[in-house]
């Protein structure tokens, strides 16, 4: 059963009660909150995700009210994961991005049976295109454009690789566009479903893109990577999609993975295998059309 099949009343009752168990990629997450505005946003943006009733949840996330003597007139919330608060209190209006960042943080810190690249990942023609990049490189924006042009979304944030099988696991989550990227995607992809614009967060204005239904329906179909492209958005830059030496690709990937040192030799083997079996490129772009055309050519069968 999918979340969208629940009425808002049923959905909110679950969130406010025992918690809503939702399957997102290889993980089940239990979410609890009594915040109506957050419930409304989640009901709309999580509509395609399956319920994970009766299944074990890897993460227990809560968004709870927080009363502050220093800010008595500002409604505040606190994000908790397994009763730990990784962030300071945030305005209640920031509940959605706080929840989404909190879940990402929990995944990044706790998952060590998979190699976690800080990377967007999409699939085309049966193979994964990995787009590793640091924040500010435009990977979420590029990923949003790709997934609305026929690529299957794995993630805008995590490349989840099983070290032994070299398979990548999809984890299609909401994609937080920031600041000018919001208008850029609204213009380029009028069909994209975006959540509300949330202003004044620690990363500026944020709006979340809902992943396509098909990407969520196929989120248990892994695939191996065939292309690794390190993207960088540079204003007014001419398109460049150039080959990257494998030694450099290895270094960039190893330093990009959240848990490379934690996994030790198995991570070294996994990155070596990945680099040997993928075409490695560096992409500089300033407009979506030329970047998408270049990536289409790269990933054509």
């Amino acid at each position: 059963m999918r979340i969208g099949e629940l009425s808002f009343g049923q959905f909110r009752a679950r969130l406010a009660g025992e918690g809503l168990r939702v399957g997102i990629g290889p993980f089940n997450i239990r979410i609890q909150t009594q915040l109506k505005s957050l419930a409304k946003n989640l009901h709309a943006l999580y509509a395609w995700y399956p319920l994970a009733d009766g299944e074990l949840a890897e993460f227990h996330a809560q968004v709870v009210p927080k009363h502050s003597l220093r800010r008595p007139l500002t409604p505040l919330i606190r994000f908790l994961v397994d009763n730990q608060a990784p962030f300071p209190p945030a305005p209640a209006a920031h509940a959605l991005p706080t929840l989404e960042w909190g879940i990402n943080l929990a995944i990044a810190l706790r998952i060590n049976h998979l190699l976690l690249f800080h990377s967007a990942a999409v699939e085309r023609n049966g193979h994964v295109l990995l787009l590793p990049a640091w924040p500010g490189s435009g990977k979420t924006t590029l990923c949003a454009a790709l997934m609305h042009r026929g690529y299957r979304l794995f993630s805008d944030e995590f490349g989840l690789m099983a070290p032994q099988s070299a398979q990548f696991m999809p984890i299609p989550r909401l994609m937080p566009l920031k600041n000018q990227a919001i208008d850029a995607i609204r213009k380029f992809l009028p069909e994209a479903v975006l959540g509300p614009e949330i202003h004044g967060t620690q990363k500026g204005t944020v709006a979340h893109v809902r992943p396509p239904e098909e990407s969520i329906a196929r989120m248990h179909e892994p695939a191996r990577a065939r292309w690794i492209v390190f993207p960088k958005w540079v204003p007014n830059a001419a398109l460049q999609l150039e080959s990257l030496p494998r030694s450099e690709a290895f270094l960039l990937l190893a330093s990009n993975a959240f848990n490379y040192e934690m996994l030790g030799e198995s991570a070294f083997d996994a990155v070596a295998h990945l680099v040997r079996n993928c075409e490695c490129r560096r992409l500089v772009y300033s407009d979506f059309d030329s970047a998408l055309a270049a990536l289409d050519r790269l990933t054509d069968d």
């Binding site: 030496p245 494998r246 030694s247 290895f250 490379y260 030799e265 070294f268």
Partner: protein, 96 residues
């Protein structure tokens, strides 16, 4: 004079990327990025303990370079770096 020797060379995992190398060191869990000369130092010191002068002479021969003062200084710095990483160690006595 110091003799340098490699530590647990056989345990290292080495991947060759067109004359550049990634080296995984199980003892530290670290990955190192070496060029051909950097790896050759480890290979030489795995074969026998050597002094700085001998290392420089052998490297200069292998890479067709002049073992001048600058070269010697660079190799000395590299040896100290490798020592700090636990890739090599030194002994004060001439080994038997």
């Amino acid at each position: 004079m110091n003799h340098w020797y490699s530590v647990l060379f056989s345990s290292l995992r080495i991947e060759n990327w067109d004359q550049e190398y990634t080296v995984f060191q199980p003892a530290s869990g670290k990955t190192h990025f070496l060029n051909a000369m950097g790896l050759q130092i480890l290979v030489l010191l795995d074969q026998a303990p050597l002094t700085l002068d001998t290392i420089c002479m052998k490297l200069a021969e292998s890479f067709s370079m002049q073992a001048n003062t600058h070269f010697r200084q660079q190799i000395a710095v590299t040896l100290q770096r490798y020592e700090a990483l636990g890739l090599i160690a030194r002994t004060w006595k001439t080994p038997l």
